[in-house]
Subunit: 168 residues, 2 copies
Amino acid sequence: MKGKNTHQGPEKKEAGLEPAGICRLLGLKLTPQRLAILEYLDGNTAHPGAEEIYAAVAGRFPGLSLATVYNTLASLRDKGRLLELSIDPAKRRYDPRTRPHHHLICISCSRIVDIEHTFDLEIPEALKMGYEITGNEIGFYGLCPDCNKTDAKRQPDIRQGGSHVRRP
Amino acid sequence: MKGKNTHQGPEKKEAGLEPAGICRLLGLKLTPQRLAILEYLDGNTAHPGAEEIYAAVAGRFPGLSLATVYNTLASLRDKGRLLELSIDPAKRRYDPRTRPHHHLICISCSRIVDIEHTFDLEIPEALKMGYEITGNEIGFYGLCPDCNKTDAKRQPDIRQGGSHVRRP
DNA sequence: CCCTTCACTTGTAATCATTCTAAATTGAAA
DNA sequence: TTTCAATTTAGAATGATTACAAGTGAAGGG
């Protein structure tokens, strides 16, 4: 763990704009803490939670407060630069990739990967119940390669139910 | 609030089987607390959280413990009789309708309605990253009729971002 | 370059949902 | 009945997130 980020692999980043630029663009004050957080998030595909972000950034930036992480995440989220995912029931996860995409989460270890693919999700007008729809997100559930190996012998019925079934 | 349930409207229930039958079928002991919870959940389309279930059932069943609600929900979930939704970042919600379906949540008041519609969600093999997919759930985000009315004048940009943007 | 100011940061307390625990209770099988 | 494991219960414990009050520093104006 030495590089700029703890990526899951080589990934294409969002359309340019380094941390400082983002702050200026959003009208946010340019503080070192923010820059460090932004930098950690930039191109990160691990969908980290607040605590993880804190741990990672605090390493390079001693004295950082967890509260600052939450504050920063909140403003980025409010400004639309960050997606706050509720796909993991244990905690909120953050995704710097703001272009619409979906997620695939392991029901055993909670690892999340992005699904960059467009689906046709037109809801029949009759089912919209008068809602004005602004977005959508698909959560795919399954077993990641690692867990699939390990769990092969577990009760098979645990996988029934067709949908987002979580392990005890 | 007098009827059997606090439904959102007339709804078709899951394929028969009253509370007692469900317990027997699942090999669960038939306790009055469980029956009361099952009864409350039966046909309920409000996607209640644990606290709400507790409050509702405790009304008719004084002495009920919140822990029991959590216990019961956990066993029903494990047995596949109940879906545990993480669509609401504030808390887990429960859905007795176990047939695959999707949800539409109001980004302002968190009201959830079911979307009973089948979508074609084939993920290109190349994007599956080796995961064995067991299910999926689409979360549609938007404004419910009520909030849409109330919020009409709010900052329009809050609705940008394309996806699950939550109100501060 | 020096002020001034208010957005930010910080540490900590408070809150909230959920889980854990250990003891008491009770279905249900024998 | 008797028995015993499953279940219920109150309350403590945990973990994530939010709230708060006081201190700090980035940034614009002079």
